[in-house]
Symmetry: C2
Subunit: 266 residues, 2 copies
């Protein structure tokens, strides 16, 4: 048993959808969420820069005494997971493995579709993770750079969002994918629209829930769970622009956010 907090980080606010899934599944766990809002977005940045930023955040979270770290950011997982696992004294989980595992389970033979930011798609990390389990399954990928700003505007059901989704997803529909991995934490909020565009028979895989399950298993296996029924606390820390984090973040986490601390890194 260990009641230290779990560290969760993202380039900004998108990872709050993962935090939400962790609160729901592991209500006894305390958390520290770090959103690197001064340096968001990671998507278009180089692998070296994303890894440097991610290492800075890991070390800051370790200085706060976390017992495990969840990289709630697809771009950072794609580029930095190996480096962070190699140097961290506590377990580090990403969002890609859990999503890829779920895709491997639900597909009846593929192809499997993956959508994400330019950085995540260019990294090919989902295709590699899916093919490690299911070498037979073809993976069709598509970068969707307009989805993040659409979600941050709150235009989940705007006619423009529908047109943009139709255009981005057309090649995946044409390829007849039987599962679609939402490879960016923001996309969870577009799920009803994406399901409508893809049609009802395509399984949409949202890695937030799968990541919470993976965290639960890791904590249990390593004897790191908090005692059930104890009080849990959730801290929010950002590197810049706190009012915007609170305003947009509330939509992501599904409840009002209190004041976030501001910590400058780098």
């Amino acid at each position: 048993m260990n009641s230290a907090p779990v560290g969760i980080f993202d380039s900004g606010i998108g990872g709050l959808t993962v935090a939400r899934a962790i609160y729901d599944r592991l209500p006894q766990e305390s958390t520290i969420y770090f959103g690197d809002t001064a340096r968001v977005p990671y998507g278009p940045k180089s692998p070296e820069t994303v890894t440097r930023y991610s290492r800075e955040i890991l070390h800051w979270l370790l200085s706060q005494g976390v017992k495990a770290v969840v990289i709630a950011c697809n771009t950072s997982t794609a580029h930095a997971l190996d480096a962070l696992q190699a140097e961290s004294p506590v377990p580090v989980l990403g969002v890609i493995e859990p999503g890829a595992r779920a895709a491997g389970k639900v597909t009846s033979g593929g192809p499997v579709g993956v959508i994400g930011t330019a950085g995540t798609i260019a990294s090919n990390a989902y295709a590699r993770a899916i093919n490690r389990r299911r070498p037979d399954v073809r993976v069709e990928q598509r970068a969707c750079p307009l989805f993040v700003p659409l979600v941050e505007e709150g235009w989940f059901e705007h006619p423009a969002a529908e047109l943009i989704a139709a255009e981005y997803l057309a090649p995946l529909r044409a390829a007849n994918v039987d599962a679609l991995v939402l490879g960016c934490t923001h996309y969870r909020l577009l799920k009803p629209l994406l399901q409508r565009v893809m049609g009802p028979v395509v399984d949409l895989i949202d890695s937030a829930e799968e990541t919470a399950i993976a965290l639960e298993k890791t904590l249990r296996r390593q004897g790191l769970e908090s005692p059930l029924g104890g009080a849990s606390e959730h801290r929010f820390v950002v590197s810049d622009d706190e009012p915007r984090f609170r305003q947009v973040g509330s939509r992501f986490i599904g409840e009002r956010l209190g004041k976030a601390e501001v910590v400058a890194l780098g």
Copy 2:
């Protein structure tokens, strides 16, 4: 006479539209363009962070021997122009004054519309600059966060761009603005679409051209012009992700971009 280069900087690639206007108007001037691609976008960042980044770039440009600096970024101009002018030994120009001056000239009494990023609009810098000249003119402002990613996707004439523009510009059309300032360097590439949505009688003001005129006047007044007919050189420097800069930047500058140097700041 002074054949040292002019420094031009932006948070990323948008300022290349201003560089283009400077090349066209002042073909004898050499330039160094710095795109802070590691830290783009500045729009959602706090005034303090934007000022800190802008000062770092100013000092790097000064270390390269520039004779004048153009802040080809509306967000940086809004937050950092005064600070940079106060500490620079060479003239520093922003993009807001020239755009505001042009708006003050063409309006027949207003209201005048201004569109830009969340940061530029929240700063109220255009409204203040316009009202300094024309206190009688009402200024209607609107943040358009989806325009930058639309331009970077190259969707200048996509039906989704038309829907998004119609939604963003509806309050400006309802207010019957007689001039519309494009308060973000990216928006120049949406000009035909924006003109169509606003209708033919509204004057669209693109500050790139106005800024090039202001630079010409400043250099002449201070005896800093390069000799006519001399060879000019254009250097491109970015803080990250050079291949993307070249690919997307070529669209902005209207010609193929050569290799950019990479210099890390901060």
